[in-house]
Amino acid sequence: MTRAREALGLCVFGLVSAVAYVLQRLASHWLGEPGPELVLLSAHVPFFWRVALSLFQGLVLGVIVAVLVPESHVDRWLVAASRVALPVTVALVAAAFAVP
């Protein structure tokens, strides 16, 4: 595997992990969650699950992209990753403030 492919996989890992985390938070908000009075009674800690699942999803997608993207497209994908990183971050920040 070339260094550029590894870089692409790592970029996808970072971006997908962050996006997957926020999407899971938005999903649990929309699908319903226990009220504040039940927080201490809950044995399930959503934060831990979200972190673990989003790291796993980022890792899987990063490996898939690094392996499957054709060699001639790797540079184009890296440029695309650098272009979308900031708009995606702005969207993540907005979502994190909108749904605490």
Partner: protein
């Protein structure tokens, strides 16, 4: 976990995150202003990512104690601060994952132009998320104290 250990780890967690954000500015700025990648740019990126990850891991460690001893009271007395804490938690994870990805990208493929640009974008994104996390952290820490 005792109240003393919780308070100690909470402060170490915050100070470490602040230091890592200051260090993360070095690769973010030098990758923008210099055409040549220096060894110290790569080093500062991965040291900052490591420190940010350690700070996140400390936060992870004290989180169950926060849930047991602080969160309930915070939700009852200051729901806006409790909400700010949740937002801080989300942004902290985004900052840590983006910083680790950016630093590893720089470490593995810093000599490659497109990879270096991608690493810079990820590190800048991590810094933005981290800085907002820090602001929220200071706000939350001013109100949220262990209630035991």
């Amino acid at each position: 976990m005792s109240a003393f250990l919780f308070g100690l780890l909470e402060r170490v967690h915050g100070h470490l995150a602040l230091l890592s954000l200051a260090l993360l500015l070095h690769p973010v700025i030098t990758l923008q202003t210099r055409r040549v990648l220096t060894a110290w740019t790569v080093r500062s990126a991965w040291i900052a990512a490591l420190m940010l990850s350690t700070s996140f891991a400390l936060g992870w460690w004290i989180y169950p104690t926060y849930r047991t001893h602080v969160k309930g009271g915070l939700l009852a007395d200051a729901p806006r601060v409790a909400a700010a804490f949740e937002t801080k938690e989300h942004l902290a994870f985004c900052a840590a994952s983006l910083a680790v990805a950016g630093a590893l990208t720089l470490l593995r493929a810093g000599s490659h132009d497109a990879s270096r640009r991608a690493a810079r974008a990820l590190l800048l994104a991590a810094w933005i998320c981290g800085a907002l996390t820090g602001v929220l952290g200071v706000f939350v820490a001013s109100v949220a104290q262990p209630g035991w």
